[in-house]
Symmetry: none
Subunit: 215 residues, 4 copies
Amino acid sequence: MQQARPLPAYLISRFHGWRATTYQDNKAWFRRLAESGQHPRAMVISCCDSRVHVTSIFGADEGEFFIHRNVANLVPPYNPDGEYHGTSAAVEYAVTSLGVAHIVVLGHSNCGGVKGCHDMCSGHAPALEEKSSFVGRWMDILRPGFDRVRQAAPEDPLRALEKEAVLVSLENLMTFPFVRAAVEDDRLTLHGLWNDTGAGALEQFDPSRAAFIPV
Amino acid sequence: MQQARPLPAYLISRFHGWRATTYQDNKAWFRRLAESGQHPRAMVISCCDSRVHVTSIFGADEGEFFIHRNVANLVPPYNPDGEYHGTSAAVEYAVTSLGVAHIVVLGHSNCGGVKGCHDMCSGHAPALEEKSSFVGRWMDILRPGFDRVRQAAPEDPLRALEKEAVLVSLENLMTFPFVRAAVEDDRLTLHGLWNDTGAGALEQFDPSRAAFIPV
Amino acid sequence: MQQARPLPAYLISRFHGWRATTYQDNKAWFRRLAESGQHPRAMVISCCDSRVHVTSIFGADEGEFFIHRNVANLVPPYNPDGEYHGTSAAVEYAVTSLGVAHIVVLGHSNCGGVKGCHDMCSGHAPALEEKSSFVGRWMDILRPGFDRVRQAAPEDPLRALEKEAVLVSLENLMTFPFVRAAVEDDRLTLHGLWNDTGAGALEQFDPSRAAFIPV
Amino acid sequence: MQQARPLPAYLISRFHGWRATTYQDNKAWFRRLAESGQHPRAMVISCCDSRVHVTSIFGADEGEFFIHRNVANLVPPYNPDGEYHGTSAAVEYAVTSLGVAHIVVLGHSNCGGVKGCHDMCSGHAPALEEKSSFVGRWMDILRPGFDRVRQAAPEDPLRALEKEAVLVSLENLMTFPFVRAAVEDDRLTLHGLWNDTGAGALEQFDPSRAAFIPV
């Protein structure tokens, strides 16, 4: 691996600062987490976007959340075809190995992946339609959501599609037999959230109103 | 999506705490990030493990890092077959849309995914060998690393395999044409790190010594 | 410009060292910053004093802070008279062109400019009173702060005046219409800091206590 | 000063990290600098631009450089009219109080202030022409440089103007009687540099060739 390069000096400096402060003050907890294993209460599926910090908005400590982050916080449908499925592997590990009690799907505003899906499905992004586009193929997961948004014709179709991304993921989660069994057996609870990162707002999906409601 | 449930009260309470403090004091920055878009300098690929917080060890602000987290911080080889590839989509988005200058692959100690791979490749985890095991199939990515570790026969084969997971990912990253082009054109730099979460230690891969060295 | 002379050799040597190491390892980031422009999150107004390094105490990377440094970190009041106003130009550029989210005024201990102001206002520095003294006239900006300190008669009047320099600058910032508008519109946040360079300490102004409090 | 707000938590965390490491390891030097005063060998006049870190490219320690940073690294001509002149005050303090041996004017590539000047002088930026534009009025200092560039009609007029900004500042420095006296008395040396931040290159002005030459 000849291409690896030294870390920028400011990151090394920041790491040593963290070690001398946060680590030093919490060493007992970090060591216990290392020795007795992680026991996270929840899995969070959120976007890679640099503006979304679930650990920040929920004041999370090390050890609390098992966090999978991918483009547009999507979960594909259950498809055990023997190929690589990173998201499905993360869900399987969280539910069957760690036994998390919650899965939270956290969508957000100004999502570039969702916008790409909207452009593609509207015919305005031919490059994303190509077979070789990983982003385009990944956003195919959201096509059923795009169809629903088009039918509903909401005022702000991008925000609507961001919220559909949460719902599609929750629906796809239920196609995994081990997820469905855990939910039906009351060992697992699912939650759908949407975060307006600019306004600092959080909405959760309420099935009784079929809508996202501010928390 | 009838299965969605309200968020636990303690998380709602924490969110309101975050909103009244961190958000209130940084509203201007969050709004600007929302309005003018993210410009992260680096993509970080780390594990879902609840003990790994890259934002914490590097004192990161919102907007600094585009973060993909999956089981065992793995990148599969380039394979544009039109199927869902969440990790490849994240890498493609980071490199071609955001133009990040760094990709950091961050491995860690006590990695459950790596241990599963070790057990599976050693013949001690038949369930992971099954076609229907998402974790098993995902950890197949690390099989070349397992072979190298077996040959080297190090004192601590699990730690060695955790570090191999970083190297395999870096190698696979170089199979993506847009990654290779950006690296060769000096628009992108790759870094391999391994974090001992219990000891609060950080090592980086040094190609000249073919080893991970404490920072 | 016949008076220009070659750079001292030790600086040329250091530059080549930086180029062979830091630049080489971060070339991708430096190039991206050059090509896609700067997006600093904050403006810092600090003193020219050689002992004050904001990039060091905040582990800053290239691209993070837009930094204006002048004698005693002062901002004059808004005065659009068509003359040269370097500080006002820097503030205007940061707020209206770059849209920074924070302005941090960073004062410090043992400030020579502040001491000059104290001596001058106490009648002990007649040379600074002269019209031709650029330092004296510049420190006139701090005269309202001197009057407040004299009335309060604190134990350490120089430290008190150094902190007043921060407050006077923050007050003067609010006289700029584009600063006030951005603050009132929650697009900009102001912060007042004072750094004890010898003790390695940092205090921030807390309006609720009307005092500087250690961070 | 009711508008002051608490510092973002990540900056406080980074500061504590710096204090626990860099400060702890260099406490003796920081304390000596505080107690026996600064004795910087050089004054550097550079731009506020977040991509220009003179302390980084010259591996500077605390105490080495007295640094004034303003928009486009400009020095106005000598004009002791009793008004606020922040740049002139910084030069006066460096030369007459600190007795620096060098003044380095450091220009750079992609300078937003220089581009604004070019647009304004070419008639493409009417807003910068207004009396109330602090940036426009500040960039008036560079008008003589614009005229020279227009006459020379170089291939890259923006780069040429960035270099003219260095020369105009050096020329204006020589209009200050205490600068001229120190230069003529061999107590002070002037240097003109231009930094290509993306390419990591540094050029210095060579009067014998009337050109900027790579160091």
